[in-house]
Symmetry: C2
Subunit: 145 residues, 2 copies
């Protein structure tokens, strides 16, 4: 069982060219030079954005992001935004994505968030419902490029 | 015409007890002591979270938040998350909310975001469509308290 070998932890700079950026290509185009990725990681750490990776024998094969937002409402409460769930194409359909979302959700709770939110396509709604999420509202977007 | 007197700018600490926190109560419960709100503002500034206010003669009567997220995908692109649009109950239905969302959207574009996203209830979809947004996906949430 592959999942027994999977360990989830924080992304570090060494992960970037050891499978992390390649894993993200399952989600969208990446096309980022390594030096630029290091800068993005630094900016994210500074902003309190948590990037988790699932590693198979030290090689990142999945990732999820947790962005913790400090609100004025809810008594100065925090909201966890779950973003960019991605699993390397060779490791999909083995529950790694679900394990990553569970991890990020638990971290959001542990960090004191009063809720966690995420956006997904119609076909993923049942999967997230299994993970304890419910449909709440509409995701709207505007594209600039 | 009231709107002629409205000016949109960045939230500062002086706004907090001059109508800003009261304005947010139109959105959700606030219940935050002033000293705590000052800390939240400081955390948000450090994290690169922009809070804009619409002022009527120096008194905040509306607000919107723009959270800029640095991504690894899209060549290290940025995404603007628009959050917590609120207008004071005495100033609603005058286009202030729409003006705030337009402002935050323009700021997202100016800051180099490749898209801006927001979540809304069914009845607000037509309003956001008028502002250039389209329905993209499902907003899911899990509550911890």
């Amino acid at each position: 069982m592959l999942l027994a070998k999977i360990a989830i932890g924080d992304l570090n700079a060494h992960d970037l060219d050891r499978g992390f950026l390649e894993t993200l290509t399952s989600l969208s185009e990446v096309e980022i030079p390594l030096e630029e990725a290091v800068k993005v990681l630094r900016n994210r750490l500074r902003a309190g954005v948590f990037t988790y990776v699932a590693r198979n024998e030290d090689r990142p094969v999945g990732t999820v992001t947790l962005l913790v937002e400090d609100k004025f409402i809810h008594g100065g409460g925090k909201v966890g935004h779950i973003e960019d769930v991605a699993v390397h194409r060779d490791y999909q359909h083995q529950g790694i994505g679900a394990a990553l979302v569970r991890h990020a959700t638990e971290q959001a709770r542990a960090l004191g968030c009063y809720k966690a939110i995420l956006n997904c396509s119609d076909q993923l709604v049942p999967l997230y419902e299994q993970l304890g999420y419910h449909h709440h509202d509409n995701g709207m977007r505007i594209d600039f490029k």
